[in-house]
């Protein structure tokens, strides 16, 4: 016998066999009802309201309905008010006739979530680690199964989605006998990829946690997420502790070649740093590191090798072959990461040479390969820059050594994005006086005089360089104009020109914060590398014009797109089609943590994207040198010209383009 069952608000409907539970019915009809305890009635997550097909209210015992009678469990767990309100447990109520069921918001499976960090990103919540509650019969003399065989059978019988050959990690096995008895044979197993038990805890445990980390050459950004809801519980960043062994990728590879224990030292430094971040984040969320059930890592290829303890030296010279490209799953204990020792560490795949898992993070967060027609340029700005160009037809990628300037390093007053860092700058082209804003303060200088500024972060550097250019403090070559009549432009202690962005008394460091001729030079090198890389990709793909630009990077706030366009960091594009998305690599790591299907997508896309090696092109050096200047040709930068014109008109001063 079959009956009509309709679920609201989704409106899904279908024929359901008699005596199936509403939970079973929901699964058959593709309706997602929250359910943690697997029908044991302990989680109370699957409460639904019966809208039709339920009669004779107000008397618990004599309710006639198209559903089975209230179970003993429901009678015990539901309040009288809930019963009167026709609330049932979907896992207990069985279909005996046609019913219309309303699934309240709180009972709906959270299948789609919005990533809380960076750009708003909506994606499926489908983590690799899920919790499964199960109740077992006690061990008896007559039932001589081992603890694990008992649990394995209970889990696979109750949860059809689990692999029949379910295994248990050795470290989880070690905790099994005591957990089972402590929980009186009612336990929650955390299972990785439906196939391996990675922890067993007494009673019903709903929460599961994961950590996503973007290990940049200069900056490490880490995120602690609730795998059950997708919520961001904590976010921390730090300077990559390997910086002491070299500021960029090549100097670290060199360090490992020159020092026998170089790789080990750098490996230990980053692992120790990660462990510190995890302690801080879990402390903030009031959990312990051992509750972290999975970790996802992204990094550039060199950071990938060093963090994994893989010899990086072969990557430092042609043909730059990495030790491994495919995505990896490594036990946390094998890497020395202090979380649940049975936890998996997922490493996104390498695309090619220096285009690493961090770029795959950007890719799966931004999904340019899903876009039809639009010719999209993605730039991930970091000490090593990655550039992608294309759409659903074809994607190209390349990488370039940008140097750490755009992350605030190798800049005289550079610092990472943290309170006290100047992150936005405007300069009056008439007076050369700046307005600036510091991370942690709402108001701008000079609206507040004491800004407690300490230095300049990446987005601030791009701003101040663009504004100095727009105000005519330096011209095409980047050389500061010595003849300007303002105390802000002066000769520095090293005899070279500099621009004073903040006077000592505004700061918390008691020193003038300046932008030096050397700083401008460092930014020129960086933007030239990115520009030339993008041009090569356009030529390779036969593209004249870019439809949109996406700027990613682990900046404190979003990069100012107009400033980025102004300094010529990429080929010309309409200003409104330039978008800054924050740390997309970090977002990608989080997306991969929360939705395991994105890992397969990354693995597939990594193989499809075509890598273009630009540094070997014969005219590379010449083009790189040509792109060092600040934009000047109207033909090449019509949009930039428009922007600068509008700006100049507004401020009543012409800018020599």
């Amino acid at each position: 016998m079959e009956y009509n069952v309709i679920f609201q608000p989704s409106g899904r409907r279908g024929k359901i066999e008699e005596d199936k539970t509403l939970l079973e019915a929901s699964r058959e009809l593709g309706v997602d009802i929250e359910n943690t305890c697997g029908g044991a009635g302990t989680c109370k997550k699957c409460m639904v309201k019966i809208e039709e097909g339920y009669f004779e209210k107000f008397n618990i015992d004599s309710k006639m309905s198209n559903l089975s009678d209230l179970s003993a469990h429901e009678k015990r767990k539901l309040t009288e008010e809930q019963v009167e309100d026709n609330i049932r447990f979907a896992c207990h109520a069985k279909v005996n006739g046609d019913v219309l069921v309303f699934v309240p918001e709180e009972s709906r499976g959270a299948n789609q979530v919005v990533l809380e960090t960076g750009k708003e990103r909506v994606f499926n919540l489908n983590p690799a680690v899920k919790n499964y509650y199960v109740e077992m019969g006690k061990a008896t003399l007559a039932d001589e199964r081992g603890d694990w065989e008992r649990l394995q059978q209970a889990l696979t019988e109750k949860y059809g989605e689990l692999d029949r050959g379910l295994t248990i990690d050795y470290f989880a096995l070690k905790t099994l006998p005591n957990s089972l008895r402590e929980g009186d044979w009612k336990i929650t197993a955390s299972i990785w990829n439906d196939k391996e038990v990675i922890s067993v805890n007494p009673g019903l445990v709903e929460k599961a946690y994961g950590v996503a980390v973007d290990i940049g050459t200069t900056t490490v950004a880490a995120y602690l997420l609730d795998l059950k809801s997708g919520a961001l519980l904590s976010k921390k960043s730090m300077m990559n502790p390997q910086v002491r062994y070299g500021e960029d990728v090549l100097s670290r590879i060199t360090y490992s070649m020159m020092n026998e224990d170089g790789l080990e030292k750098m490996h230990d430094a980053i692992i120790q740093g990660l462990n510190d971040l995890i302690v801080k984040m879990t402390g903030e969320a009031e959990i312990i590191p051992a509750q972290v059930a999975e970790v996802v890592l992204v990094f550039n290829t060199a950071m990938h090798h060093i963090a994994l303890g893989l010899e990086p030296k072969h990557m430092g010279r042609s043909p730059f072959a990495p030790a491994v490209k495919q995505s990896l799953n490594i036990k946390s204990r094998d890497m020395g990461i202090n979380v649940n020792p049975a936890a998996n560490v997922h490493v996104l795949p390498i695309e090619a040479g220096f285009v690493g898992p961090d770029n795959m993070g950007v890719m799966i967060a931004e999904e340019p390969y899903m876009q039809k027609d639009e010719m999209r340029l993605l730039i991930d700005i970091g000490t090593n820059g990655e550039i992608d160009l294309g759409n659903s037809d074809k994607m190209l990628c390349t990488s370039c050594a940008t140097g750490p300037a755009l992350e605030g390093a190798q800049i005289k007053f550079g610092m990472r994005a943290a309170p006290g860092a100047i992150e936005n700058v405007e300069i009056d082209p008439q007076t050369y006086e700046p307005r600036y804003r510091v991370i942690g303060k709402e108001e701008w200088y000079p609206d507040i005089k004491k800004t407690d500024s300490k230095g300049i972060c990446g987005s601030g550097i791009i701003d101040v360089i663009a504004e100095m250019f727009k105000a005519g403090i330096f011209g095409k070559t980047g050389r500061i104009n010595k003849k300007l009549e303002t105390p802000r432009v002066r000769k520095g202690a090293d005899g070279k020109m500099e621009y004073v962005l903040a006077w000592a008394d505004e700061t918390s460091i008691g020193k003038d914060i300046t932008v030096t001729q050397g700083d401008i030079r460092a930014v020129q090198l960086a933007k030239s590398a990115l520009y030339v890389g993008a041009k090569y990709l356009m030529e390779k793909l036969g593209v004249e014009k870019i439809d949109s630009v996406t700027l990613a990077g682990a900046f404190g706030s979003y990069i100012n797109t107009e400033s980025a366009l102004a300094i010529g960091m990429f080929p010309d594009c309409e200003l409104e089609k330039i978008v800054a998305v924050g740390n997309a690599a970090g977002d990608g790591a989080q997306v991969a943590l929360l939705d395991k299907d994105k890992r397969d997508e990354a693995q597939r896309v990594a193989k499809e994207v075509e890598f273009v090696e630009t540094a070997v092109e014969p005219d590379f050096q010449q083009r790189f040198a040509d792109a060092m200047g600040f934009p000047h040709s109207k033909d090449e930068f019509p949009n930039l010209e428009k922007v600068l014109k509008a700006n100049a008109d507004k401020q009543g001063k012409a800018v020599n383009l």
Copy 2:
């Protein structure tokens, strides 16, 4: 086009397609030709002699034949004499017509080997770890594969038997980039179970090594084997270092319950002990521990739990549920065993409660479940005794707490089987004077006077107790007869009677070696437990009579079967059908190490064997007490009576049966 190919001496023949190599032909026809390099011509293992189908000798270049011409490789590697002798590489010579091929002894795959230890056992050589040689193209800018992707592809293309989804262990991956370049892209991969690379070494590596260990409550026996030939390279034993925490299984479980770090301490002790044994064995074989590619462990259930770091306390009380029963594969690094960190540690399955992997070792070595009709009793004598009864129709098993007496512990002058231990004893029933033999000496006392004896090992204890009984030094109850006129039977320092087996001046310890009333008592407890266990199994199976008895145990030499029968360790059986097989558990560990199919067999058999819990039988205590006496009933022991009679007649003295 197909041709007839015949291989000698096996005589296998069949049609082979043109242009297939003789090696391919041999595989198709099920002939095993040695081949390590996978056809690269570097290992020179696959040399075969062409008996027919090969013409015009004496001229390398113009040989007409039913095989392809000599390859450049063969021309370089074969001597002129070999060429004249019609020797070819099976991996290079291709079939162009009918041929008769002789496979010389040294080229035949060593598919069947004889285990060099214990009883002679013939079995298949099919280890889980095998070596695969492969040559790759170098990495180039045009070929942007990662090192692992390059190796993975080369291996799976060359070796069809490998899993398409071949993986690499993380620790092996860490050595990959340097190994590949050191070997100039010619390497040997050691692969576990055709699916995981566990080490990568430059060049051609033929050897692979494995370790099998039997961890007894009192004695640990370890074996280092050549996985390629099955040869035993070294064999070491030691006292289980956990003995300091308790002499038997229950006292160790108690220790772990009474001390918070008890499990950890005992776990560390046995792992440290294993590591010491491995260092000694590999040193003897002139290799290093990191070359050990797999480890197989057997132990009783309690030793299993403690060695694996699994809480043993639940095993100490009803319902005695183990943490896990099925066989396990654990990374050596996770257990702290210092071999190749990527090596697998295989743990044979537990049958039930106290019937552990060691009994599975006995089972797969002895294979009673293959035997039709014959009702066979297997006893593995140790501190914990395991008993199996049955045949191919059905197998039962049980376990009993024997105590360490039969291993030489808890005996006043007991010691493990090592030089200086008395291992055989005879006593003249007229004079009560003994003859005895010591491990390490050929001659018997009193043929040599100074025996340098230190103590008595397990087989010596069984002998001396049996001989004392047969000589009438004690009777049915086990109490020593105070009235015998011999200085050898005297009152000891503790006021209890004892028998002097060796006078102080014969020994190397300067003390009389005696057998005390307490020693007799300990042996009574042990033999009674074994006897009662066996009787329960017979009743459960409805068997009146046993056809054969197999006695296993980690004794120095084989136990004397007549002595074992004489003390009544098991129900009566014809003397010639009682066989002592040495450490069958250790043999089983070696068999599982050398033939991975035996692991599946063990896993299957473990589920089929039915466990009988004897200690809960209501009449257990009574029967145990009744069996303490020494055999006396003619009805119960017709064979024993026959033996004793013959013995008594020979010595001219009646024994009161």
